[in-house]
Symmetry: C2
Subunit: 91 residues, 2 copies
């Protein structure tokens, strides 16, 4: 299974910069593990981070935006469960 | 055919920021046309922008990095040939 993370963001809400920030956080942390991060324009207030069929984070479901740290933990659990995230691992 | 652009960048060369910049330029300009931009970690000095089987820009072939303007023109020619890029269209 391709190690691909999707970030879908609402263009009307101007969340591209936020989506690109999270993409860069993930690609920096999982430089050796991730095969790609896809930035996907969406509408209607969506801000969703997905790994294949798993929605790792949904702004609508959570009622807030994610912090980089928790996105890294969620992605790590999918693609590199043994990876130590250092200070990003303290909850 | 999915309107997907790929940007593969060399992680050793630390070109992620440059790749993310180009991704954001494209997603801003082609907000309504693009379905996704994928950031793909690579090695060995690669900096390549692709649309399916077409290599739109290769740093190795060109001997330089692309300017945002020319990447937009190249992507436009693939996904929205009638789109006017305004000041990005003067060569």
């Amino acid at each position: 299974m391709k190690k691909r993370v999707e970030i879908e963001y609402c263009t009307q809400c101007r969340w591209l910069l936020r989506a690109a920030w999270i993409a860069q956080e993930l690609l920096t942390t999982f430089e050796a593990e991730l095969e790609e991060v896809a930035l996907i324009p969406g509408t209607g207030g969506i801000f969703e981070i997905r790994y294949h069929e798993h929605v790792l984070f949904s702004r609508k479901a959570a009622g807030r935006f994610p912090e980089a740290k928790e996105v890294k933990q969620l992605v790590r659990d999918q693609i590199a469960p043994d990876k130590d995230l250092g200070h990003s691992d303290r909850r």
